[in-house]
Assembly symmetry: C2
Homo-oligomer: 314 residues x 2
Amino acid sequence: MLTAGIDLGGTGIKTGIVTEAGEIIAKVACPTAPERGPEIVARDMAQTVLDALAQAGKTQDELASIGIGVPGIEDPSRGIVPFLTNLGWHETPLRALIQRHIDKPVYIANDATAACVAEAVAGVTVGTRSSVLVTLGTGVGGGVLIDGKPFVGAHGVATEIGHITIKFDGEPCSCGHLGCFERYASATALIREGKKAAAAHPEGQIARAMAENRGELTAKMVIDAAKIGDPAAVELFDRYTTWLAIGLAVLVNAYDPEVIALGGGVSAAGDFLLNPVRQKLPNHIFFRTMPYARIELATLGNDAGIIGAAMLRG
Amino acid sequence: MLTAGIDLGGTGIKTGIVTEAGEIIAKVACPTAPERGPEIVARDMAQTVLDALAQAGKTQDELASIGIGVPGIEDPSRGIVPFLTNLGWHETPLRALIQRHIDKPVYIANDATAACVAEAVAGVTVGTRSSVLVTLGTGVGGGVLIDGKPFVGAHGVATEIGHITIKFDGEPCSCGHLGCFERYASATALIREGKKAAAAHPEGQIARAMAENRGELTAKMVIDAAKIGDPAAVELFDRYTTWLAIGLAVLVNAYDPEVIALGGGVSAAGDFLLNPVRQKLPNHIFFRTMPYARIELATLGNDAGIIGAAMLRG
């Protein structure tokens, strides 16, 4: 049977028709425009499923279910998505809104959880039964598989990896707490530290790159400056990979998965990120002489959200 | 069927014959004296099982298995207990050593994991499918049940709760890292902070109690000083319960269990500990308006290790 996977983001909806092996056979995208409200956006989401089916030359009868990865969580006790902060939505009965248009089972999961499922079906964690996906983007997201199944906890609030405290008197976080992992391991952290470095070293590569980019700084610019050996950027990136390793050690101590996969924008740095993190992790885990999780780069990129959503089951 | 549970500690061996309902029908104890080496101690452990069976008027035929809770972990891939630091043992083939004397299945788990199982069978978490036990003692230990089963991770190193980093530039830990949860939430942390308070306030209750106790300070003395309103002790205990709440919030963000049970020596403070922790936890968790874990006191005390070990299965 085929399933549909919908990756619902703040700016775009990406929908695919996916085989059981995790292959996308048709793909449709449209803008979210969330200010139109959940009812209209859900109608568009359903339409992308129908359009993708048509593109694949398939009918609704061949579709087993629809999965949706959302930048939030579902409250499993109520079938409601309580917060979609990026979209400005609250208490959204997303499943029911989709089913108004297509009468199929609808499964909803956090987008990082969906991506973690995708990597296990068709990406870097194929063949494993337990894995953690850490997305290093504007924030830090996380998905966890235990015994081959998405782990969401008793109330659906587990695996909130980005908001695990790693320095309880540290950087203030948008969530209102101090020292969350995402304050140290996100692209936003690289930009924050990069701006400090640019101010301290106006002659350095980060400041130069910013000046060439109308004063804007991206995580990639910081990483590129480190790659060419700019001393402040090298020092900053070294601190960043230490922070990341500290957070990954917390995940080893908590979940002890077979693999931790790094995804999201920062993971595009590839081996330049992976090598120091692999080297530093043993300095921060508790059982240094026991086997522990391999650290790998996620491989599915932007398609992970669609594939993983399509793999969701009841 | 009956099973035997052995709680192996650095100073003592406590063994019980336990019913399927978690009731201890016979109990035997003896000193560990670990310096005698694993072979001799394992012989004594097997003897406690035989003695407890005799005490209960039961035979080996009525015994299904033997479970052992150890202050360490088993490497499931090798059937070896790699570290029993308290006992000074390394690479101990504990299962095989016991089976030399009694030919029954032997299951080994971390002692906090065993206690977590016990609380779910006969203690405060009866009726739950997911729970975390946090033992607040000399260190901080942890056990986790997911889907009703002990969760140990892919390599047996999961739920190393005491060594989760909550302040990566914080207090040095015996494990060689900085800012581990147990540096802030153990009895040892209360004693460390209590000694600082005694030095800063020689007129205060903590200093007085120390002087009356030949200069020795216990966590109970610090808590008792806070209970009677000594200002430095109250301030210190307030900081302690905040730190504990921060660590428990990490556990909510990671595991999202139904219940987190607090055990170990510090939990003897009862409601004086429980009430501020319950009050502060919502200040530190991410999804404040979603349901989250109840915080409770463990109820089985010292018998938890025996009962939980006896409940271990393959």
